[in-house]
Structure formats: C-alpha cells, structure tokens
Amino acid sequence: MDQKQILDVAIRAGTMLLRNGAEIYRVEDTMNRICRSYGLSCEAFVLPTGVFISVEGESGITTHVKRIPSRTVDLTRISQINNLSRIIEREKPDYDAIIKEFDSISNARKYSNFTVSFAYALTAFVYVLLFGGSLMESLSAVIVGVFLGFLRILFTKGSSFPFIEYFVGGFASGILGSVFALLFRVNPYLVIIGAVTNLVPGVALTNGIRDLLHGDSVSGLTRLGEAIMMVLVIAAGTGIALAFWNAGGLI
C-alpha cells in the first residue's frame, strides 16, 4: 500500500467515526493506529466539524482535510469501524479489501422507520412512568412520541437549519401536551418531559464533557455549546407553546 492509500484509509475511518458520534480521542487514536500499523508516522487533528491528517513518508509530507457537515449517533457503525481498525492493526490487509469493508459498513442495515418510531413511543411511555406519572399520562406521551418519530423521518430528508427539528419537536410536544391536559385532565408537564426525553441531547452532553476532560478543549466546548443550544431550543419550543396556550386561558 502506498502513502496515498494509507492516508485514504485513515481519513475514511476518521470521518466515518466522527460522523457517527464517536469521541474525539477515539477518532484521533484510530487514525494514528492505522497509519502506525503501516509504518507511517502521522499527525491527526480532529474537530467536531472536520478531520485533518498529515503523514510523513517516502513521498514527502501528504496532508488531507475533510469537512464533516452533519453528525448523528450510530452505535453500530462506531463498533464496526472499531473492529475494522483492530483487523487492520493485526492483519494489515490490502487497500481493496479495506475499501470493500468500508462500503459494507456504510451500507449496513439500519432499523426501519417503523421500529424507530416505536422506540420513540416506548421511550416516552417508560420515562413518564419513571418520572412518577400515571398510566393515562404515559399513554398520552406515547402519542406525542409517535408524532416526534414522524417529525424525525420528515427532517432526516434534509433541512437547512439543524436546530429546527428540535424547535418544532418542542413546540409540538408543548401543544399536544396541553391538548391532552384539557382532554384527559393529565399533568401536561409530565407528558411533555417524557416525550421530549427523545430529543434531549444526552449523548452530546456527556461526550462534550468527556472531550473536555480528555484535554480536547476546543471540541469539548463546541459540543457542549451545541448540546446547550439544543436544550435551549427545545425549551424555547415548549415554552412558547405553553405561553400561547396559557394566553388563551385554556389551562
């Protein structure tokens, strides 16, 4: 494998990890490992929005930069890339074999939209009960959860602002929660918070703090800022919905 191909493998692994929500140190570590197992010294620099890598070998210094436009969390892909990097370290396969592996990972099966919407509903149901809600409250939250699942399908097709999904989600939960409060005499706040558990960026928050504690301060603060932004947007959505509803004097 020549220097360019090694660099290509490293940057593919790095971008795929970052795009699927891995921590910064894991991305840098994986890229370093891949280069080292082919006998190249490399310098990887990773931000939440891009990957930079530079290797030094026979053909001088080669650098590659890759921008990451959007990130989600996908535990399957993180785990599979992790396995692949182990295989690369152990067996040092050739370029074509690795690229084939990458293709099969990026084509790996995802849960169907139906299953994910069901998971949204289940999350809402379970968390209302865990927060001390009644059965009626958790069943109302299920309906809100299903609605949030639909919103997710709608927004994965691409939207111009990444945060708009959270605002709309929060607003819809606020309105629906108030409607259920009127219809079934349930506590609207419990219904809302149970359903909104689906949107709360728990992963981004903990990953951000973990990056910070690892010393990746730039990435840590970026992710933390992003997570706080998401929470604020959700809170703004629900808050505005509730304010509208209260102004109507219906609760």
């Binding site: 929500g21 891995a22 921590e23 894991r26 969390v73 996908d74 535990l75 399957t76 892909r77 993180i78 785990s79 992790n82 396995n83 995802k110 849960y111 299953t115 994910v116 998971a119 949204y120 289940l122 999350t123 379970v126 968390y127 009960l129 865990l130 927060f131 001390g132 706040y189 419990l190 809302i192 918070i193 149970g194 558990t197 689906n198 709360v200 728990g202 992963v203 928050l205 903990t206 703090i209 973990r210 504690l213 929470v231 809170a235 629900t238 808050g239 509730l242 304010a243 209260n246």
Partner: protein, 149 residues
C-alpha cells in the same frame, strides 16, 4: 416489591428504547438494557424513597454502568460506549429538567436558575463518573501489558 419489579422492567426498557434510536446492533442490545437497569437500581437502592436522584446517587449509578460497560466491552468485543450511552439514559436528570421547564413556564426565574444549575451538576456527575471508570480500566490494562512481556 411489585413496585420494585416495575422499576426493573422500566429501567431495562428505558435503556433499550433509546439504544434502538441510536441504531445499536442486535447482539449487544439486551446487554445494554441490563447495564441501564443495574445503574438505575444502584441509584434507587441508595435512597428507595424517591425517584428524584441526588448527585451522589447518580454518580454511584454511573460508576456501576461504567464498570459494567468496560467488562461487557471486553467480553463482546465492542467499544464500551455501545453499552455506556444507553446505560446512562435512566440516570439522565429528567425530573430536574422537567422542574426547570415548569419553573420557566411559570415565570419563576430564580427557581428556574437554581434548578438549571442542579441539572448541569447532575450531567457533570455522570460525565465524571464515566471518566473515572475509563481512566481506571485504562490504567489496569496498561499495568497488565507492562507485566506480560
């Protein structure tokens, strides 16, 4: 007792459902759910009176989830994150966040501020707990590697 069993089931489902949203593989799915259950029950046993966990309860639960994740990562050959992220879900300070929003909507700004700080402290205690376990296991692994060759 019935209530206890209810929480066992709820915390198990409460880890599995978000894990599906995060596209977890089928093989570690049940194990991730078990981790979340263990963490939640640890926190619950420390103070069975209330479901609003304190910072120390959340910290203890996170330590259990973290240790469990590292052990399962070794067993099932998957990164520890796969078990840790769904596992901490039942510990995420949802009730505190709920009270914060309630206070905000009720125009009680002072109340909302102190609740927001409480929420953030709880989130940090989860991250610190996770970090501690990761660092410990890494040190153990390094020490073992140093002895072997």
């Amino acid at each position: 007792m019935v209530l206890f069993l209810e929480y066992v089931g709820l915390s198990f489902l409460g880890s599995i459902a978000p894990a599906i949203v995060l596209n977890i593989e089928k093989r570690p799915l049940v194990w991730a759910g078990l981790g979340g259950m263990l963490g939640f029950l640890t926190a619950l046993i420390l103070n069975p009176q209330s479901l609003a966990f304190s910072i120390s309860q959340i910290f203890a639960g996170t330590l259990v989830v973290g240790t469990y994740s590292e052990i399962m990562a070794k067993r099932l050959k998957a990164p520890a994150t796969v078990f840790a992220i769904p596992g901490i879900f039942p510990l995420v300070p949802g009730i505190t966040a709920y009270k914060t929003i309630q206070a905000l909507a009720g125009n009680q700004t002072r109340e909302a501020t102190s609740l927001a700080i409480e929420t953030i402290s709880k989130a940090f205690s989860i991250a610190f707990g996770m970090m501690l376990v990761t660092a410990l296991f890494r040190a153990i692994r390094k020490a073992r590697k140093g002895i072997k060759p």
